[in-house]
Symmetry: C2
Subunit: 551 residues, 2 copies
């Protein structure tokens, strides 16, 4: 029974069983291109062969700097298929960070969207390892542009060392196609954490972890992905593998819709309707934006195919979950994950017993992050002691399992985030309910420690966002001479809506202890965001650190 | 990410997450005992500790000779948890075969139902390796019978070396509980094939294969088993691990119902209703029997919880699939498996596109055995060449995958059923449809070779069983002086129904080539069966081998 769990086994499965299933994507010109797995996998084979022809050997890193597209999916499959390591670069990082990451990873080849060449030029000079650059043309694959097109014409970059993606595929000598022996513990994918503090750190995913993670997304108590599905990952392919959904789609034959660079509410909604998407996944801000689109024209969109909107990346406000369910009959499924967890660790499905419960009760459960996936084990730890699963005691979430990292790539010495007994310290502070359902209360660094007690910034934010006048709210800890820290709320009001700080405190008062209420509430026109759409709280903390300096 | 896929990880998961989920079973006195995983797993820990106390070491074999019961489930979990090997003895085998199997496996401990002690006595003297016998009492666990009861009183067996199961659990010193390091490639379970020809052969399942096989039963395109389910395996726990369902239930927190020795249609139906079973699994004869019960009183049973009746072991007649769907709105899901495949290899779910199709078309699809599970790969081979997936060309099914055996246990030299490149030759003759759906046409040995052409005995049987007067039909090859072989049909008529051989041939005629029709149809009162309820065709072949001797 020595059958290895490797990415080529996924590809082989799709090739034999799912050739007819659809793959579509939004092109740079906003049009939609439609094809099938048969075509994608044929091109994948060509890309594998061509990369091997360029000298890519098992273990070598091949980087991508690209939006979600058919070509990016081909790279996802082709690179691990020859034992090389897919390294997805996060195009929202600072060019200096990108250069650092490329050099740290020792990327030999870069596959880059033509539209992102200007970004590449910003850090190209700092990179020391890239030998070849392959450019995915902005014009449609197989379009009239043909092979002869000069891909560097738009960018002014020198032609030396630049290859056209389509020409590369056309040049592949399939008679030379090789399938090297790959062991399941070999590295398949490399991702770097966004790095809100310190240098970005790399996480290497083995073939086995990718495969088992995909497997888990098919089970009924997870996302239940199968051949009937059509997946639309809004979480980008350059961010923790779009939750692994591109691999999962291949494993189970689910159709895939690749949104390109257009991730705004209206574009997402349009894709869901046109491609009859059944499952989509992204961070809460994406779904806040889509909710606004839906609310503009309730019932005006055919969402009959859509069975699940998966949310992760940060805790979604209960008010949004309720709004989707109540106003649009759409089911939000919360998940929790991290780069170090490939990324999904928990998924929140409503227990059978709650299906007939009042909406409030359902929403309260759905606002949690869910139970651990098979073989993922969780515990909450506070002051070195495991906390009880009582739904009340906060602790830092620690996880272990077959797709949880055991170390960072290329980091010398022991990292304190990995325990000696195989657990990863997530930095997320959670409650664990008696049924094993995990509820995110905060990032450890986002907790407010006031008078020796913890205040959850996420709980305050989500409560504020339930106020009808509030579009968005972020709560951060700011230094305080008496209380050590106090919570500060930064609030963006809805267009045309009005509310004072006192109104909002009054709104919060019934739900929280008095000392939890923010003394200061600032109004802003927007909240700064990280590269993946989460609130960038570090900026707010810096901006407001002197708030109580005069007290 | 070196997290091993081992049975103890399943147990740990259930202990932390699913303690409240139900386990129930029918006792020898037909009453139903109800408990929870929390209790089962507490007793499992006691059994593990007690077995280790008896000297059971990693790698040692512990045999069971038992019906489906809570205690048998405890043995399923406790034995692999200490690195020992669970060996389930098929109580329907001949005592000589049982003795051979026990000695071949080198079983050190036997856990036996009190009611099966008389069977054990029939082969006990021939066994050479058993050191301890643990008796599961017929009276309910924790009943008034207490620990002091003399378990040998009913059987007359000598008390020497016989331990009472409940007393053993009570004696466990939990402070001595150890969890040895288990690698995922270590053996967890040992099963012997029924052995219709030659000596039974053992198949060792690794922890990894058990775990991955269970994992696959949770995915949406397989059986989709999750925490909401309540499982009732009718396939016995002494036959390929009841399809692995006891392990799958533990992994996903599905409730389990253990039917004891009562596998008749009325008892099964009663359990489904009383325990609100959602998924049940067994061989076609079980479901033929239950169908008769249902037809006696249509609508008289509350089957509202039941979502799936899984069928495997041999091909189910389309007429039965239709009857369940048309008359009782129950969904039959076909599966294919073998001892060498842990056992499931394919599961037949209706493609989304067929959901609105006419019933005939749905039934035609559901009568197939389905697509391969994730990472199971299939091919049909005839005359050494892979046959096309055209739904027309017959070939022997070969499979490989992470839970497909690579060799038999304790068999010297190479077995021709395993190919050099890692495929297992199943002996089943199939068509593979263009979508990868496998359709069983026959066992290789049950094909009829008439005038150089193959005739499928299964196709004829299933067509005959669609005749309203036919209860059961078996078709076998009998030697023929001109045609080499001809098909003979042995038919059991329904009580009170009448039909002649000519009636039946006329009924078959529109569906088959003329030369497929059986020249001879014999009527019988019953068809001999194997230990697992399949037709024992070898007996019919022997009985009728001289049929054409005078021609």
């Amino acid at each position: 029974m020595d059958f290895p769990l490797v990415v080529p086994a996924l590809v082989r499965r799709a090739r034999t069983l799912f050739g007819h299933r659809p793959v579509s994507g939004r092109r740079p010109d906003r049009s939609i291109a439609r094809t099938t797995y048969a075509s994608v996998l044929e091109r994948t084979r060509r890309l594998s062969t061509a990369l091997a022809g360029l000298g890519v050997a098992p273990g070598d890193r091949v980087a991508t700097l690209a939006w979600a597209s058919q070509e990016h999916l081909e790279a996802y499959l082709a690179i691990p298929s020859i034992g090389a390591v897919l390294h997805t670069l996060n195009l929202r990082l600072h060019p200096d960070d990108l250069a650092y990451i490329v050099n740290d990873a020792r990327d030999r080849i870069l596959i880059v969207d033509e539209s992102l060449l200007p970004l590449f030029e910003k850090f190209r000079a700092q990179t020391t390892t890239i030998e070849q650059v392959v450019v995915i043309p902005s014009a449609a694959a197989g379009s009239d542009a043909g092979d002869a097109r000069d891909v560097t014409a738009n960018t002014g970059a020198p032609a030396h060392g630049f290859l056209d993606y389509e020409a590369l595929l056309a040049s592949a000598d399939l008679s030379a196609h090789l399938e090297p022996v790959i062991r399941e513990d070999d590295a398949a994918v490399l991702c770097y954490t966004s790095g809100t503090t310190g240098r970005p750190k790399g996480v290497l995913y083995s073939h086995r972890s990718i495969v088992l993670h995909s497997f888990s997304q098919g089970i009924a108590d997870s996302l239940g992905i199968g051949e009937r599905d059509v997946l639309l990952p809004i979480v980008p392919m350059f961010h923790v593998n779009a939750w692994g959904l591109p691999f999962t789609g291949v494993l189970f034959g689910a159709g895939q819709v690749l949104p390109g660079r257009y991730l705004d509410g209206a574009s997402v909604l349009d894709l869901i309707v046109r491609e009859r998407v059944t499952l989509t996944a992204g961070v809460p801000t994406v779904w806040l934006a889509m909710l606004q689109e839906l609310d503009k024209n309730p019932g005006g969109h055919d969402l009959s195919a859509l069975r699940t909107i998966a949310i992760g990346g940060s805790a979604a406000p209960a008010s949004m979950i309720r709004a989707y369910q109540e106003r649009h009959h759409l089911r939000i499924v919360h998940a929790w994950g991290m780069t170090e967890v490939t990324p999904l660790g928990t998924v929140c499905n409503l227990p059978a017993g709650l299906e007939a419960a009042p909406l409030d009760e359902q929403v309260r459960y759905r606002a949690r992050q869910g139970k651990p996936l098979p073989f993922v084990e969780v515990r909450g730890v506070a002051d070195g002691v495991e906390v009880p699963w009582d739904g009340q005691t906060m602790g830092e979430l620690e996880v272990r399992g077959p797709w949880v990292a055991r170390q960072y790539y290329n980091v010398e010495g022991h990292d304190s985030r990995f325990s000696d007994d195989g657990w990863f310290r997530t930095g997320d502070v959670v409650l664990i309910h008696p049924d094993g359902c995990v509820e995110l209360t905060d990032r450890a660094k986002d907790l407010v420690k006031s008078g020796g007690e913890w205040i959850s910034s996420v709980a305050l934010e989500n409560a504020l966002m339930a106020h009808p006048a509030v579009a968005e709210a972020a709560v951060v800890a700011v230094p305080h001479p008496t209380w050590d820290e106090r919570p500060l709320a930064v609030v963006v009001l809805r267009a045309g809506a009005q509310a004072t700080a006192d109104d909002l405190r009054e709104f919060l008062a019934p739900s929280f202890a008095k000392w939890w209420l923010p003394d200061r509430i600032e109004f802003a026109v927007e909240i700064p965001r990280t590269s993946v759409g989460k609130f960038r709280k570090s900026v707010l903390r810096e901006q407001y650190k002197g708030l109580y300096a005069d007290d």
